[in-house]
Symmetry: C2
Subunit: 417 residues, 2 copies
């Protein structure tokens, strides 16, 4: 009964564990997770802050239910300190009790995710200054918040109202470098910015200045990282050390457009890598086909979606492109719910293949970005995209889908249409 050890208990790690278990029930699989929580939706944290869901609802499995249903042992509160490939051993500390623990493996998956990149300014250690990487951070931040607006109604309802109120009240200061966070009695009280006229008062500060792959353990174990700073893996999610795999946000992702390793910090890619890692851990030689940076987010009512390369990314890789942006309605103009969207398509000027797309708007944007992502993945030329037989009915789309109109606009720019 082969021993499989997995460091990291979220998208990549647990998907790999489940997949390997399904493919080979004889494997002895153990997951080590430093936080109290496993198997939760990181992407759901904003909706937890907004009171639209609870922390419990974000969690799919507890360590106990995961072990019971999947037959996979999970040690939470377990922080790994060292991997020793020569002895196939992992050394850890229990964060709740301080005990030391040691685990052996025949195959090891590293799925340690990311850690916060802190700005090099004073004050980041003050109380109520937070970073946010995981559910534990989210719960700490939520607990530090002021009670609520409208004390006459329940807190979980008031938070939805706060969320709506913020739509019209958020102040945005771009290009303003923060010099320091200032405090009193160890508690943050303000922010000093280069452009400001003094200190901007603040009861709470959330630092979101990027993340870096969490690769210290891997590096110390002699596992190679790439130029991106993340762990180098092949298409089977194998590292340079035999029997050691890496997946998720700590591992590099292959970009099928640029044909080189890149970084993607996103759950969809982590889960896909985890699935492939799990299959290969179970000796099924499947390959990860790479990712192209497809994301969508909700900024108040506005959907912001993108896939593939931006014009800037294409320029950085010396890929010659033609792009066009159009404005359109997301469904028939006379249909009551028609809303505005903007579509930008970017195509390789030489191969004529689609290499990137961006859709922003109040209407259905993720629909269009997924079509573009599929076209990019398939290596589709913009000439062909312009004629794809897309669905139309007034409540759902347009006779000429905005994507087709944008493809025609790119073709016009290519002076061939």
């Amino acid at each position: 009964m082969e021993k499989i050890l997995i460091i990291g208990g979220n998208a990549a790690g647990l998907t790999a564990a489940s997949r390997a278990r399904r493919l080979d029930p004889r494997l002895n699989i153990t997951v080590l997770e430093k936080s109290p929580y496993i198997s939760y939706s990181t992407c759901g944290i904003p909706y937890y802050f907004a009171g639209m869901t609870t922390a419990d609802e974000l969690v799919s499995y507890t360590p106990e239910s995961f072990e019971r249903e999947r037959g996979i042992k999970v040690h939470n509160h377990t922080c790994v300190n060292e991997i020793v490939p020569s002895r196939k051993r992992v050394f850890a500390t229990r964060t709740d009790t301080g005990e030391h623990a040691e685990f052996s493996y025949e195959r090891l998956l590293i799925a340690t995710g990311v850690k916060p990149k802190l700005p090099d300014i004073p004050g980041t250690d003050l109380r109520n200054v937070f970073t946010i990487i995981d559910l534990q951070d989210a719960i700490r931040i939520k607990e530090a918040r002021q009670p609520q607006v409208l004390p006459g109604i329940d807190r979980d309802m008031a938070q939805i109202i706060e969320y709506e109120v913020q739509r019209f009240g958020v102040r945005l200061s771009v290009g303003s470098r923060v010099l320091a966070l200032v405090g009193s009695d160890g508690h943050v009280t303000g922010v000093k910015a280069a452009s400001g006229l003094g200190i901007e008062p603040a009861d709470m500060v959330l630092l979101d200045t990027g993340v870096v792959p969490n690769v210290d353990l891997a590096r110390e174990a002699g596992i190679q990282t790439g130029v991106t700073g993340a762990i180098s893996v092949n298409s089977h999610m194998e590292t340079n050390v035999p029997g050691i795999f890496a997946a998720g946000n700590c591992a590099e992702t292959y970009c099928s457009i640029r044909q080189r390793p890149i970084l993607h910090y996103i759950g969809t890619v982590a889960a896909k890598q985890g699935r492939i890692a799990g299959e290969n851990i179970a000796a099924r030689r499947t390959k990860f086909l790479g990712a192209i940076g497809t994301t969508v987010l909700k900024v108040f009512d506005l959907a912001v979606a993108r896939t593939g390369l931006s014009s800037e990314q294409a320029a950085a890789d010396s890929i010659p492109v033609v792009s066009a942006r159009i404005e359109a309605l997301d469904r028939a103009a006379y249909y009551p719910t028609a809303r505005k969207i903007w579509v930008k398509l970017i195509a390789n000027r030489e191969s004529r293949r689609l290499v990137g797309a961006q859709v922003v708007g109040y209407g259905e944007a993720s629909k269009r970005i997924d079509v573009a992502a599929t076209a990019i993945t398939a290596g589709m030329r913009v000439d062909d995209l312009a004629q794809v037989d897309l669905a139309y009915s007034p409540p759902y789309g347009n006779l000429w889908d905005p994507l087709l109109v944008a493809a025609q606009a790119v073709l016009r720019k290519m002076s061939m249409w």
Copy 2:
């Protein structure tokens, strides 16, 4: 100044006219349309019946505004009786005045759409028995309807209520063959069905028993029709008679999956064919790449979308397939607007390429069908579809999009995953 004549003033005909005009401003283009209306959304007619839009809002251009903005002469109320290719002449009658008219051409586009296929039963000529093909039919039907429910509120509001009320009150009788429509004083009063216990009373009957391509004119002019009954065209939308083109619902469509001509009665395909016809009329040798039968419709709250081949269609063409159906939520389970959808994917068992997809549900279905349509068009294998980097954010989708889950289910059935 070459003379271009176009018979038919809706999706295919006007798209062709506009496209040819844009590509070659010197062309002398004339459109002949038998009804009073041109350039309207046929797909919007249900929303016109529901009081959600007006007939005027469905019309993009009047003959006058189209002529003024595009420099293309439109004769509406003009019914073509005969095409004489040997003399390059078209003979017509003005339906409003009864006058005869004659038009010459150097290139001719036939875009005559469809006509109703009537059931062979008595009573179809009674008053208040309608067929519906165009906006004129729709206006006649709407004018024949009973005033409204709730006379205390405005008619346009009451119709929206009627629409909602019907959600819960529509009776459906499938497999019941209608033997006759019966009437009194020439007005329809009931329906006699083979399965019924007598005559089902009816104040109004809408016959929707299919359409056939409107090809009488073309056939009499010696233009070939195919086994489908529609006009045969090549990828440039040319008929067998030099200088005569056909586009839209009267013309055959090339199916890129089955690699043979088929029929599609849908505006999206008509518009694409019209665009290609217009380009070729203007001597730009572009090609129509075909269509795959992508449609979406709204049945009360339920979205019903399909693309490519159904299992039955694949069997009829002896294409060996594997299919799988899954049930899923269209976005994160904890997100308040998450709704259920069912996804079925059909793949060729030998080539492993996706050949068909069906999505039905209360959530976002047309998004998934468009992704499938793009994958089918690109010849994507279901193995590759299972890994496409689709967008995810809790308000818009799932970590594993239902399409990816369905692709995995197909792969499991193929015993390879």
